[in-house]
């Protein structure tokens, strides 16, 4: 797990107040919704708002992409990285 993935896993835990869950309990490729971590759409909104605030990014809603970005910790990290790179340029 790279540093950004770890950071995001910790952000998920803090934002959603997941008791008794540690970063190690959320493997980067584990689905966040449904079968995996079991988050729901309210969690998704809360997480999206927290990510936008923390990384100063804007997550567009008008595409199917949003759904894909929020699949796992790994996809979220890749998305945040891409947004940062885009801003840096």
């Amino acid at each position: 797990m790279n540093a950004l993935q770890q950071e995001i896993a910790q952000l998920i835990i803090d934002t959603l107040n997941l008791e008794d869950v540690t970063v190690d309990d959320i493997p980067p490729d584990q689905p966040l919704f449904g079968e995996g971590l079991g988050l729901d759409s309210v969690d998704a909104l809360e997480l999206a708002l927290a990510l936008q605030k923390r990384y100063d990014i804007r997550i567009a809603s008008d595409s199917k992409d949003a759904r894909q970005h929020f699949t796992t910790v790994a996809t979220l990290a890749a998305f945040v990285q891409a947004q940062r790179d885009a801003c840096a340029n």
């Binding site: 449904g34 729901d40 759409s41 309210v42 998704a44 909104l45 567009a60 809603s61 949003a66 759904r67």
Partner: protein, 322 residues
């Protein structure tokens, strides 16, 4: 699941299908025969419903006796006549809804009780400003509010509905003349749609969502005291309001002395909770909402059209998080 829970089928499991068929049939019949001819037919259908649906009768009886005990008004105690009267009021309610959808109910026929100008804020919010949340109640006739909100002007309103037949309902509303309301099915809300809603609120659009019905597969519910007994209410509207940090208003439409009254009441200036106090804060809001709802029940005691078992025990839904 206990046997009781299995027997008391959840409202969403059976209600919409029946009401969709009934509405479609009624919509067709009203067009062909007119309201006057249809009224006795609908009364017969409701009479049949009254005679055959034992659990619906029992649930209404329970509501009436809770209301009487809670208010200390013995004249509200259930009798065969008062239970039947509520079923008849339901028939009138269906006929009124069709009038609304066909545009037969005009603004002059409705009294707006809106002392703090919530409707004005709604109409102006699209020209700058953030959106707000309307928590809607199933007491009375919420369809009237929708029609009135739309009348004359395009209103930036997104209505979240608990309905598995939204597509068909949208088509039926289209046929019946209900135009631009954006209906969104609660069970289809996912990450992208939630983000979309939050951005709509930023742009000044409002959200309307029912505060008095608990979705089937949703562990996010809270038990509060309603008419003297514990009943489950949804957390969803309040979570949305808190996460989006927007004001909350309560919306209800009651028929009083043969005239519709739309009640718009500001409820929270900004929905906000302290860190770690979320559940307790929401509990407090929902209790306040339930108390408000109880007062409105007293204004229109015969317009409670929840025929399912409203006061159900809390169900632990460990596996339903998805």
């Amino acid at each position: 699941m206990s046997e009781q829970v299995v027997q008391e089928r959840h409202w969403s499991a059976h209600k919409e299908r029946g009401s969709l068929i009934l509405m479609r049939l009624t919509a067709f019949s009203v067009r062909v025969f007119g309201r006057r001819l249809l009224t006795p037919v609908l009364y017969l259908i409701v009479l049949y419903f009254f005679a055959s649906a034992r659990s619906a009768r029992r649930n209404i009886r329970q509501y009436q006796s809770y209301l009487a005990d809670w208010s200390g008004n013995a004249s509200l105690r259930p009798t065969l006549g008062s239970v039947f009267g509520l079923f008849i009021a339901f028939a009138d309610n269906l006929l009124d809804r069709l009038d609304v959808w066909r545009g037969r109910l005009r603004f002059e026929q409705v009294t707006l009780v809106d002392p703090s100008g919530v409707r004005t804020r709604l109409l102006h919010s699209q020209h700058g400003g953030r959106g707000e949340i309307l928590v809607v109640t199933h007491l009375g006739n919420p369809d009237v509010c929708r029609a009135m909100a739309e009348l004359g002007e395009q209103v930036p309103l997104n209505v979240l509905v608990h309905n598995r037949h939204v597509a068909q309902f949208n088509r039926l509303l289209g046929e019946a003349g209900d135009r631009s309301m954006r209906l969104i099915q609660v069970s289809e809300l996912d990450t992208a749609m939630m983000l979309d809603l939050s951005q709509r609120v930023e742009r000044g659009e409002w959200l309307a969502i029912a505060g008095d019905r608990v979705p089937l597969h949703d562990g996010r519910r809270v038990m509060v005291n309603f008419l003297g007994h514990a009943a489950p209410f949804p957390q969803g509207p309040w979570l949305l309001a808190g996460l989006l940090q927007c004001p909350v208003n309560l919306l209800c439409c009651l028929k009083v002395d043969g005239r519709y009254q739309i009640h718009l009441d500001p409820f929270l200036d900004t929905a906000h909770w302290e860190r770690g106090r979320r559940d307790a804060t929401i509990q407090g809001w929902v209790q306040g909402y339930a108390d408000h709802l109880a007062q409105q029940c007293l204004m229109a005691p015969q317009q409670w059209f929840n025929f399912y078992a409203y006061w159900q025990p809390a169900q632990p839904e460990a596996t339903d998080a998805n």
